[in-house]
């Protein structure tokens, strides 16, 4: 198989209405699954998909990754965890996809479709 496709993007999201961090986390998990589903082989990812979701204050972030479709790994920062029921107006996403077997244009298309969940 040829080289891995590397896709990185930083994306600012602004919500029409404030959402709780719990709801944002659920949406992010769905987003990762949606990307993973389209880029999987035999229900695993031949690479990794990682997203860092940050809100404006320091050390307030959620890290998500997926390497197999049955599990989205979620690691919240202590500040995110502490404020889990409070609402946010938006967040900055750093999306990093490294995957074998798919072209850059395919990965880009899949990520763009997944971002429409927001």
């Amino acid at each position: 198989m040829s080289d891995a496709t590397v896709f990185s993007r930083s994306q600012q999201l602004v919500f029409e209405m404030p959402v709780t961090r719990i709801d944002a986390e659920n949406l992010l998990q769905k987003m990762l699954y949606a990307i993973g589903e389209q880029l999987s082989y035999n229900k695993i990812i031949l690479g990794h998909i990682k997203v860092l979701a940050r809100v404006s204050t320091e050390d307030d972030y959620l890290f998500l990754s997926i390497t197999r479709l049955d599990c989205v790994d979620v690691k919240p920062s202590p500040n995110w965890l502490r404020a889990s029921t409070s609402t946010i107006n938006g967040m900055e996403l750093d999306i990093n996809v490294l995957v074998f077997g798919y072209s850059l244009s395919t990965v880009e298309k899949v990520v763009n479709a997944a971002l429409r969940l927001f």
Partner: protein
């Protein structure tokens, strides 16, 4: 300064392993540690996970230390020794790097001849598929390791004995330890990581 090189395929659990190893260094061994974090892609994601861990982190972006920016790695190692000089330097390679190549490169160009150990993390949950599709890369990552940690054994099910047999065939007599993604690493495993003698 002793060097621990961590390698293994994308998503195998290198960052989580390093966080546990670093905690062991600072909290139990009462020693100091610095980290060189090599990520592919313009947006660094993993380095955020080390924020607040008390580890001095030097990110290396723009390519893989294995092939594209290997001289940057040697520069970073030299700089860390001359400025911080920690007891331990951890290098997290990208998930595409071949650890044996990086170890050879450091041994060749690091003038101080630091003691060095190469630890490769194997993702037991994806071993079968990864080996099926990416065999040359997967084997080259495991080969020439000083220690292999077969991680995520809880996701491998009944395949685990076959996976260990596969890895044993590649590495010969090199120690192979197992770990679960859901539990903290046992103390014996962490201590084996530091075994540079």
């Amino acid at each position: 300064m002793r060097i621990l090189l961590f390698g293994g395929f994308l998503g195998s659990g290198k960052t989580s392993t390093i966080l546990q190893v670093a905690k062991q260094i600072t909290e139990t061994r009462k020693e100091t540690v610095a980290l060189i974090e090599n990520e592919i892609g313009e947006a660094g994601v993993d380095d955020q996970l080390f924020a607040g861990s008390g580890i001095e982190v030097r990110p290396l972006f723009g390519g893989c230390v294995c092939c594209q920016i290997s001289s940057d790695l040697v520069t970073a190692v030299t700089e860390i020794r001359s400025t911080i000089n920690p007891d331990w330097l951890i290098v997290e390679m990208t998930g595409l790097a071949v650890p044996g190549n990086v170890a050879r490169f450091i041994r060749q160009y690091d003038a101080s001849r630091s003691k060095l150990r190469t630890i490769t993390i194997v993702d037991a949950g994806r071993w079968v598929e990864l080996k099926e599709v990416l065999e040359p890369l997967i084997i080259s990552q495991v080969k020439e390791s000083d220690l292999v940690i077969v991680n995520k054994t809880d996701l491998a099910g009944s395949d685990i004995c076959d996976i260990i047999k596969d890895v044993r065939a590649i590495v010969g007599q090199v120690p192979i330890l197992t770990a679960s993604a859901t539990k903290p690493f046992p103390l014996a495993l962490l201590e084996e990581v530091f075994n540079l003698e």
